[in-house]
């Protein structure tokens, strides 16, 4: 089972290593970790995507809470949040395929950020599922390189207010 955790931490040097060190020490597996400053410059938010059973996630939450500069830990439930990941995808693209890739890009809502004689680079910000679809579509053309930021997530107010 995949889980998305949103962790507010004090924005100090060394905090990232305290948190990431925890994962290796307690043998937790994480899929991605993204960190950035919040609206309050003293506070950063880490979005962690991890997988495991309920026991693992409960332990992960509790152990994170023990790290002194960790302020708050939330595990988002399905439907409670919006998540996005930014990726840059470089595809092989001889001129005769340019139109095809442009069409895929338009269809999926990606942006073309660089074009050369033999390649095209797309910028894509969407969910993990959309990313996987895009990759499936681009694979036949030859993917040269992928760079991903890891997932960031925010609570969905609309879903909460409906409850």
């Amino acid at each position: 089972m995949k889980y998305t955790l949103s962790v507010l931490v004090e924005n100090h040097p060394g905090v990232l290593s305290k948190v990431s060190g925890l994962f290796s020490r307690r043998a937790f597996n994480i899929d991605s970790l993204a960190v950035g400053i919040t609206e309050d410059p003293d506070i950063s938010r880490m979005t962690i995507v991890a997988h495991g059973d309920e026991y693992v996630i409960e332990q992960l939450e509790k152990q994170l809470n023990k790290v002194i500069p960790v302020i708050k830990v939330r595990t988002y439930k399905e439907g409670e949040y919006i998540s996005r990941e930014l990726s840059l995808i470089k595809v092989s693209c001889p001129s005769k395929q340019r139109l095809d890739i442009m069409k895929i890009s338009e269809l999926m809502g990606a942006r073309i950020v660089d074009v050369s004689v033999n390649t095209m680079t797309l910028q894509f910000a969407d969910t993990l599922e959309a990313f996987e679809t895009l990759i499936d579509l681009l694979k036949p053309y030859g993917i040269r390189e992928i760079v991903r930021t890891g997932t960031v997530a925010i609570e969905k107010d609309s879903a909460i207010s409906r409850k």
Partner: protein, 539 residues
């Protein structure tokens, strides 16, 4: 103007620190130089690891934060095992290390080591101070974090230029404000209620007490709770001392090296009340088996311990003293007699008579005898190995403390821990029991004992083997004693003599008891070497 080093010392004074255990070096000199001008005592240990162990013994004996100090690089690195040992046993320590100048950090200069990085996974928190002005806040927070919630070691790494730097004035913050650190100390009333309801239906309840009971100062409350309800008490190794060993309600230590009756009790109970115990693997090897028969109420100040090793029916997060107080107010329960009688029968049934060998001391009966010779509030520091098990199961504790490295199992702990305990409690009997293996890991502290003229009695169980592993090799490795034979055990009496410490060698229980009697009359340190047969088992 005031220097960083002076601020550090003033912070210690603000925290009421009277003793630090340490070892100097170039980049911690500014601090020691300032300390020298105050009445804070600095105890010079003979290796940094022992500074942490001594601070640990001090902290446990006095229920205060222990402080140890080392220099950068090797000094700090030597502290590591001591810090990790304290972490595993939840001992409040503030560990201060010198660090190379902040502008050369990361350049691999002489005696540089990334100590905050190295200790990351076994400190409660750590600081690398980058600015002299931060020192008061860092120290205030460090002492607060070390001593509140689930206690543990906090490391403060201070580059030498930060110690030498100056600021206008010293202001010690009155309070700390760490947004992410607010330990809950009161048990949730609903959970307490649920726990008491669950207790009502129980026919075979047992209290399993761990080190958390002692850390919280909940010993009287636990005893009261047990007496009011008649629920028998078993303890983990860290929990030894929660009840006097001879209390009729106390069953004994659980675990792979524990007492049969205690293990039977936990495995046959229908309700286990875990009090400040983390259900370590050596205490309960198969928690799933216990859970099959029993509901579990787990009381702990650290929410992460609840449900970590044993499935819990009712979790209660809070300080043991408070939670037991809350429970005492509302409890109305009497343990069924059949259960108490059953436990009593187990206790009587499984008394073993230890095997004796001619020309040797039988350690189990000697430890039991020694208990009766010590004053009630005595502090016993047991090392790691067979000697630890002999002490755990045979030392009849009354109102004193039992100090041992339960979590980490760090050999060499007992002697430096006894040093700290004696400095903390000079009027109490302090005894360290170790084996010939563990003694050789910290016997350099005889120098500290001699220098400080500490009235510590050391008992060395000399069996010329690393007994615990030797036993393991008998069971699992076809008695192939790979690297466990201490062929050249030195004459420890001569070693003690070299430090100006009196000593004796005993080859029978009668001799050992006689020497013990006379050594306890004296106010000087003493090393009593007991000749123990290598085949004496830990059971």
């Amino acid at each position: 103007m005031i220097s960083g080093a002076e601020i550090m010392v003033k912070c210690l004074q603000e925290e009421g620190v009277r003793v630090v255990f340490g070892y100097p070096g170039a980049v911690i000199c500014p601090f020691f130089d300032e300390l020298y001008r105050t009445d804070i005592k600095a105890v010079l240990v003979r290796q940094e690891q022992n500074a942490a162990h001594s601070a640990s013994g001090y902290a446990r004996a006095l229920s205060r934060v222990g402080v140890c100090v080392a220099t950068s690089g090797p000094g700090a690195l030597n502290l590591i095992t001591g810090i990790a040992t304290a972490y595993m046993d939840s001992i409040p320590l503030v560990c201060i290390t010198g660090q190379v100048k902040s502008d050369v950090l990361g350049r691999d200069v002489f005696q540089e080591a990334d100590i905050t990085g190295a200790c990351e996974s076994f400190v409660k928190h750590s600081y690398l101070v980058k600015n002299t002005a931060e020192l008061p806040r860092v120290f205030k927070e460090a002492f607060h974090i070390a001593s509140t919630g689930r206690p543990g070691p906090v490391l403060i790494d201070v580059p030498v230029d930060i110690q030498q730097g100056t600021v206008e004035e010293f202001v010690y913050p009155e309070r700390v404000n760490i947004i992410g650190y607010k330990p809950s100390v009161q048990g949730h009333p609903m959970q307490v209620k649920r726990a008491l309801e669950m207790l009502k239906d129980s026919k075979r309840p047992i209290i399993c007490a761990g080190g958390g009971v002692l850390t919280s100062g909940a010993k009287p409350k636990l005893r009261e709770f047990s007496e009011v309800t008649g629920i028998p008490v078993i303890s983990t190794m860290m929990g030894i001392g929660v009840m006097p060993s001879d209390d009729p309600l106390y069953v004994g230590m659980i675990g792979s090296h524990g007492v049969r009756a205690a293990n039977l009790a936990i495995h046959n109970a229908d309700l286990v009340i875990l009090c400040g115990a983390r259900v370590g693997d050596r205490a309960v090897a198969s928690p799933d088996q216990v859970v099959e028969r029993a509901n579990v109420i787990h009381i702990d100040i650290d929410p992460a311990e609840i449900g970590k090793n044993m499935k819990t029916t009712v979790p209660i997060v809070g300080d043991m003293k408070n939670v037991l107080g809350q429970m005492l107010k509302a409890v109305d329960y009497t343990t069924p007699e059949e259960w108490t009688e059953q436990i009593k029968r187990w206790k009587e049934e499984y008394i073993t008579v230890p095997q004796t060998f001619e020309g040797y001391v039988e350690p189990k009966s000697f430890i039991a005898k020694l208990s009766t010779m010590l004053r009630p509030k005595a502090i016993m520091a047991a090392d790691v190995g067979q000697n630890q098990i002999w002490c755990s199961n045979n030392y009849r504790i009354r109102d004193g403390r039992f100090l041992t490295s339960g979590g980490m199992g760090t050999m060499g702990y007992s002697v430096p821990a006894a040093v700290g305990a004696k400095i903390a409690r000079p009027s109490r009997d302090v005894v360290a029991v170790c084996g010939d293996g563990s003694f050789q890991m910290s016997m350099n502290e005889l120098a500290t004992i001699a220098q400080e003229n500490l009235n510590i009695k050391i008992i060395v169980m000399r069996n010329t083997v690393l007994g615990m592993v030797h036993e393991l090799q008998d069971i699992h490795y076809g008695s192939r004693y790979a690297v466990t034979e201490l062929d050249t055990v030195p004459d420890f009496t001569e070693i003690a003599k070299a430090y100006g410490i009196d000593s004796a060698f005993a080859s029978s229980n009668r001799e050992a008891e006689e020497y013990a009697k006379s050594m306890l009359k004296s106010d000087k340190p003493f090393v009593l070497v007991c000749n123990v047969h290598p085949k004496t088992s830990s059971r």
